[in-house]
């Protein structure tokens, strides 16, 4: 099978002889170059080194605004949850996604009912929230 022949060139454990060893070495170098490019891209797109710049910007916004964020929507995997601070404290409202999901907040579980606000045991808006659906699949919801 030609796929096996091709993929074998990228296998560092495979034994290649003669000119084929050079082809395999070329393939491994190509694999490494691709990995290098993808890793550098992933760290940039993930904002790995951007965080430090956000803090003072946010702090200065507070100085001008003098209010914390009071609400935010978090989404992933077809689910959206609105977390907001109201008179009853912090609440979470599922606005999209199938029923039966729960939020994991520290050691606590918050059972969601679509469209209904439920109490959230948080003191500030989180950066992300972890949602677990009925099948146990986990989603990291981000703003």
């Amino acid at each position: 099978m030609s796929a096996e022949l091709y993929n074998n060139l990228f296998d560092s454990n495979a034994d290649h002889q003669g000119a084929d060893a050079l082809v395999a070495a070329f393939a491994m170098e190509g694999r490494l170059r691709r990995a290098a490019r993808e890793l550098a891209d992933a760290e940039m797109l993930g904002g790995m080194w951007v965080e430090e710049e956000r803090a003072p910007e946010q702090a200065m916004r507070y100085a001008a605004d003098d209010r914390d964020d009071l609400q935010a929507s978090f989404s992933a995997g077809g689910y959206t949850v609105l977390i907001q601070l109201g008179e009853a404290g912090w609440t979470a409202t599922q606005t999209a996604g199938t029923a039966g999901a729960s939020l994991k907040v520290g050691a606590s579980w918050v059972v969601l009912t679509p469209g209904q606000a439920v109490a959230m045991p948080v003191e500030d808006l989180p950066d992300t929230v972890v949602l677990v659906d009925l099948s146990g699949q986990e989603f990291i919801l981000t703003r």
Partner: protein, 342 residues
């Protein structure tokens, strides 16, 4: 709050504080009359230094973060903004400075696209330097290989969890059910206790205990657990010493390339990009045949790679390995045929 800091974030934040944002006027003067270059460059250096602050050595030229490297970064960012046409939003085929003037961007927006955005001119340069170091620096090459190995495990045994447009996906174990998630520091300690060299075992354990993670986060986690090799333990990564005769290499690569048939060339391009078999076949369907593929591999080995290595006599070097021989050939291909190999 310092005036400079305020200017960086919101030049009109507070009433009563008169702060003029000079950036738009500086850019306009530079674009329209070539004036204020020194002042604009000085502003650039200040912001680039600020953006560069959290980045580690691996993101800088020669994997060394120092004043010269940061200055070099600032100068290159300035040059790109001044004269390199960029295709992506919001530049649309214009040099960034020209786009800023034509779109009448305010200072904050200019700084955002030049320095502070997740995808800014400055951060793209840092990304490119990091990618270069990841394939040239001996220890960082090890990180790239680890990233590739982790990718192989993830694609074969885990499922991706999309995180939104433009954000790398996270990965999780399939059908893992409910479990207690652990902080990454705890997971790292537990992985160390496993004392396993198997990337697959470590990846699965990490995802089971920490929950969904990105491939890059897993790479740094496993790197911390496994420990990077000392520089004298890794394969020699720098190859310039083998390629003193660049003109000879250029000629050897060009000649050997011309000996190849289209299918052979398609194979070389796919291999150089680390392309999957499916990607290769989509470009050159005739290679979806064992005889054709085998023939192409043989021809690439004999007519191209062996021919170049023989012509250059670079296999004789005592510390040359097949992989260190390939780097200069690949770089030369990118130089000769940028559309196919860059």
């Amino acid at each position: 709050m310092s005036v400079a800091a305020c200017d960086m974030v919101n030049p009109t934040a507070s009433e009563g504080m008169t702060m003029e944002d000079t950036m738009p006027a500086l850019v306009r003067a530079f674009v329209e009359g070539g004036q204020s270059a020194a002042e604009l460059l000085s502003e650039f250096m200040r912001h680039v230094a600020r953006v560069a602050r959290p980045y580690p050595d691996a993101y800088f030229v020669l994997s060394q973060k120092n004043d010269d490297a940061v200055d070099d970064l600032g100068n290159r960012a300035f040059s790109i903004c001044a004269s390199i046409e960029k295709g992506r939003f919001p530049f649309s085929g214009r040099a960034p400075f020209s786009a800023y003037v034509e779109e009448q961007f305010d200072g904050r927006t200019i700084r955002y696209h030049s320095f502070y955005a997740k995808i800014s001119i400055t951060r793209e340069l840092l990304r490119d330097d990091y990618a270069f170091n990841l394939r040239r620096d001996p220890v960082l090459r090890w990180r790239s290989e680890l990233y590739a190995d982790i990718g192989t495990v993830l694609k074969a045994t885990c499922e991706s969890v999309p995180q939104g447009k433009g954000v790398p996906p996270k990965w999780q174990r399939t059908g893992s059910g409910l479990r207690m998630l652990q902080p990454l520091e705890v997971v790292e300690a537990k992985l160390r206790k496993l004392d396993s060299p198997s990337v697959e075992v470590l990846v699965h354990e990490a995802l089971s205990q920490a929950g969904p993670l990105t491939q890059s986060r897993l790479t740094h986690l496993l790197e911390a657990v496994l420990g990077t090799p000392a520089t004298d333990e890794v394969e020699a990564g720098y190859v310039e010493e083998h390629t003193a005769d660049r003109l000879g290499l250029r000629e050897a690569v060009a000649n050997a390339w011309n000996e190849l048939e289209p299918a052979d060339q398609a194979l070389v391009i796919a291999l150089s990009k680390g392309a999957s078999y499916e990607e290769l076949i989509s470009v050159h369907p005739s290679l979806n045949n064992k005889v054709s593929a085998s023939r192409a591999v043989s021809r690439v080995g004999q007519l191209f790679l062996s021919a170049v290595v023989d012509a250059m006599g670079i296999e004789a070097s005592a510390d040359a390995t097949p992989r260190t021989l390939m780097e200069p050939i690949m770089s030369m291909l990118a130089e000769l045929f940028p559309r196919d190999f860059s």
